[in-house]
């Protein structure tokens, strides 16, 4: 384009012979091209938005549904269930490194707020029994993933006993003290120690855990509408249809979400029930592929029809919106882990059932144990080992279990020590194999991709094949 004078402008320039720039056609073409591109892109958007999948036979579009996303009709203000999110995460920390105080072991774990209040009595009991003071530091898993490699590389550690995901423990045995005397398989529920073993050497300990037993419901809701716990899959589907017709229900099942882990829990439950514990394990260690026909069949035959039929809600923030809406009757079923008992007021109203297994399949239940380890760089080895042994024994775990929301891995904890609701969950564990959480075990980029692909599956069930292919592509080469 021709220059029409500098931007600084010369105020004395003559105004008579102003000539427009000669490149005006180029300018016009440029503007038109840009507008065409943006309109094209916007048009595509509108096209895809108009294509939100409408299932031909919406399974759960019962008619009792409430259309808008407006607030639940209870007018008595925020229920105390929302208190789950009300106490802000308390971030305990120390400014000066406490690592070298004498006679103290530091436990680093991701619990804060209410969850920590449940853990505190365990530590206090330990100190009372052994006289070893324990300080506690709260660091979330994401933070530990960043800090630990750097600190270990320079020979330091933020704690003497650290709770961390099993995949980390398994991948970093070079930084961890191998356990030889403290624990043996036979003292725990079968399978509990597998995630922290390298070969047959045990590198971590297992504490209590949370089970992901199945779908939770309010007993009062079921009683009020004469609903019963399903015993076959056909029953389950019929239950969903019935629920969808109840007035006030938006979708029968509510899907929790944060970064995606609640959705992965649901998927793992379907696999563990209808593919069996063996399929779940095979997928975890890579011997089976997500794109295999039998794995795919679980999705196409069971999960996808429910998703496409509107039986699941879209992913909602799990411990605020999803929990509140479920408790207030906008949804009937909520798949969640056993820690839900710590999040509601009225635990006697809670009931849970697992998906009805097909006859003859040995099913599994995903048990997310909390694992811990002693790093090599600890300065209080003997004290740490004592704490380690305590946490891995039925002594320590009983106290935790009594607080509610946890299931012990150590054998020998009597059922009577469990609060009533947890007892029901513990009983669901009978005759069932323990499985470890699939995405936690594999970890890394697989996990984050797994979550986001499942989020996609939830809103676009038609993209199943692309989703399975993407999940499989991020499996670590074994």
């Amino acid at each position: 384009m021709a220059d029409t004078g500098s931007s600084e402008g010369a105020s004395g320039r003559s105004t008579e012979e102003y000539r427009p720039p000669s490149g005006r056609w180029k300018l016009l073409i440029a503007i038109v091209a840009v507008l065409v591109v943006t309109n094209f892109v916007t048009g595509l958007t509108a096209y895809y938005l108009a294509q939100s999948p409408a299932a031909t036979v919406p399974l759960c579009a019962g008619g009792g549904g409430v259309r808008s996303s407006a607030a639940p009709s209870t007018s008595n203000g925020p229920s105390s269930v929302a208190a789950a999110g009300a106490s802000p995460p308390v971030f305990t920390f120390h400014f000066e490194p406490p690592y070298h105080t004498t006679q103290a072991t530091i436990t680093v774990s991701p619990w804060a707020g209410a969850e920590f209040e449940g853990f505190r009595p365990v530590l206090e009991n330990f100190t009372a029994k052994t006289g070893i003071p324990v300080t506690y530091e709260n660091l979330r898993q994401e933070q530990l993933t960043q800090i630990l490699p750097a600190q270990f590389a320079s020979g330091q550690t933020p704690g003497d006993v650290i709770f961390m995901v099993s995949s980390f423990i398994k991948a970093n045995p070079q930084h961890i003290i191998k356990e030889t005397s403290n624990i043996s398989d036979s003292a725990f529920i079968p399978g509990s120690l597998d995630p922290v073993k390298v070969g047959s050497d045990v590198y971590g300990g297992v504490y209590t855990g949370k089970v992901k037993p199945g779908f939770w419901y309010r007993k009062s809701f079921f009683n009020a509408h004469n609903l019963t716990v399903p015993t076959t899959y056909a029953d389950f589907k019929a239950l969903l249809v019935t629920i969808s017709k109840i007035k006030g229900i938006r979708t029968p099942i509510v899907s929790g979400d944060s970064v995606g882990w609640p959705l992965s829990d649901i998927v793992e439950h379907f696999i563990a029930t209808y593919g069996g514990a063996s399929m779940h394990r095979a997928l975890t260690n890579g011997t089976k592929h997500w794109t295999d026909p039998d794995v795919r069949a679980i999705f196409t035959d069971r999960l996808v029809p429910l998703l496409a039929g509107g039986c699941f809600s879209e992913p909602l923030e799990w411990n605020t919106v999803a929990l509140t809406n479920w408790w207030h009757g906008l949804h009937a079923l909520y798949f969640m882990g056993s820690w839900i008992t710590g999040l509601v007021d009225n635990t006697t109203d809670l009931g849970v059932f697992s998906l009805p297994p097909p006859t003859g399949t040995s099913t599994g239940i995903v048990f997310a144990g909390d694992y811990f380890f002693i790093p090599k760089y600890t300065t209080h080895l003997t004290e740490a080992q004592q704490l380690f042994g305590y946490l891995a024994s039925k002594d320590g775990q009983t106290i935790q279990v009594e607080q509610g929301g946890h299931i012990a891995t150590a054998l020998g904890v009597p059922l009577s020590d469990y609060p009533a609701v947890d007892r029901g969950v513990a009983q669901l564990m009978n005759g069932v194999q323990i499985l470890s959480d699939l995405d936690d075990t594999i970890g890394g980029q697989f996990q984050t991709n797994f979550w986001s692909q499942l989020q996609l599956l939830w809103v676009s069930p038609g993209q199943l094949d692309a989703v399975l292919a993407s999940i499989q592509s991020k499996m670590p080469a074994s």
Binding site: S7, E8, S68, S69, A70, A71, G77, P78, S79, A82, G85, A86, P88, P89, F91, F93, F95, P110, A112, G113, E115, L139, R140, Q141, E142, Q143, L144, Q146, I147, A150, A153, S154, S258, V259, W261, E317, W318, N319, T320, V321, T324
Partner: protein, 275 residues
């Protein structure tokens, strides 16, 4: 033909309406911070139950207060250092000539365009090697170095637009380079320096990637932006807390902007009007 008066009214209405509408998301955030979450489900424009309170702000402040301290301790040095260093260099590029000057200058300016990700991995390794990981100093150094290219460009453009006569007069009188710079040029450069200061401070305060890289989780060095991000836990999510925290962190650069608007504008357009 629309009457000019009507047109003026229409334009004013439109402009002011636009300004108000543009701020809606901020209003939404404020509502989420002041009101309990169930109240605003369905839209914060429902004032039926309206119970504002400061609890979330108190909680947010408790959760991220160390972040403010750290951000300040990082941003202030990381503004002063590159400003001083780059002003010298900018003056040098503007006034001194030597054979490779333009090539060096071009390289420095090109460094301005690379993404932060380009230096992330080696910087991480360097800082670990210098035993500076998880310290405030590492972020100060990194931000100072990172801010140099754009400040050098900015100051060099500014200096080359200054008339040379004053400096040459002083040189004829026998003043050395340093004296000319400090006693004559620098006082003239104060407005530009002001612009640089506010912009660099804002960019360091607002930075997230470098902070996440060098100080992801240690409270003694974690800046406010990262501290805020950490309140989004995997297992506990408090939307009111997050909103309140966001407002607190945002308040610093926004109030700086409102107070020192002139400098921001001058900085932002420093590349254009001055050639």
């Amino acid at each position: 033909m629309i009457r000019p008066r009507l047109r003026r009214v229409a334009i004013h209405l439109f402009a002011w309406g636009l300004a108000v509408g543009w701020l809606f998301p901020f209003v939404g955030l404020t509502m989420a911070a002041f009101r309990p979450f169930p109240e605003i489900v369905g839209g914060w424009w429902n004032f039926d139950p309206f119970t504002p309170s400061f609890t979330k702000f108190v909680a947010a402040f408790n959760a991220i207060s160390f972040g403010f301290r750290n951000s300040l301790l990082i941003a202030v040095p990381a503004t002063i250092i590159p400003m001083s260093v780059a002003t010298l260099a900018g003056y040098g590029f503007a006034r001194f000539s030597f054979p490779i000057r333009d090539y060096v200058f071009l390289t420095v300016v090109l460094l301005m365009t690379i993404p932060q990700q380009m230096v992330a991995i080696p910087i991480f390794r360097i800082m670990v090697g210098l035993k500076l990981e998880d310290t405030l100093l590492s972020l100060v150094i990194l931000h100072s170095a990172w801010g140099l290219p754009w400040i050098v460009l900015f100051m060099r453009n500014f200096f080359s637009a200054l008339p040379k006569e004053v400096e040459e007069a002083a040189r004829v009188d026998g003043a050395s380079d340093l004296k000319v710079f400090f006693k004559i040029v620098l006082p003239m450069a104060l407005p530009a320096l002001g612009a640089v200061a506010v912009l660099q401070f804002m960019w360091v305060w607002n930075d997230f990637f470098f902070s996440l890289l060098l100080c992801p989780a240690t409270p003694s060095c974690m800046p406010a932006t990262v501290a805020l991000y950490h309140t989004i836990g995997k297992f506990e999510f408090d939307p009111g807390l997050l909103a309140a925290g966001s407002i607190l962190v945002m308040l610093v650069p926004v109030s700086l902007y409102v107070l020192l608007q002139k400098f921001y504008i001058r900085g932002m357009i420093g590349w254009t009007v001055k050639g």
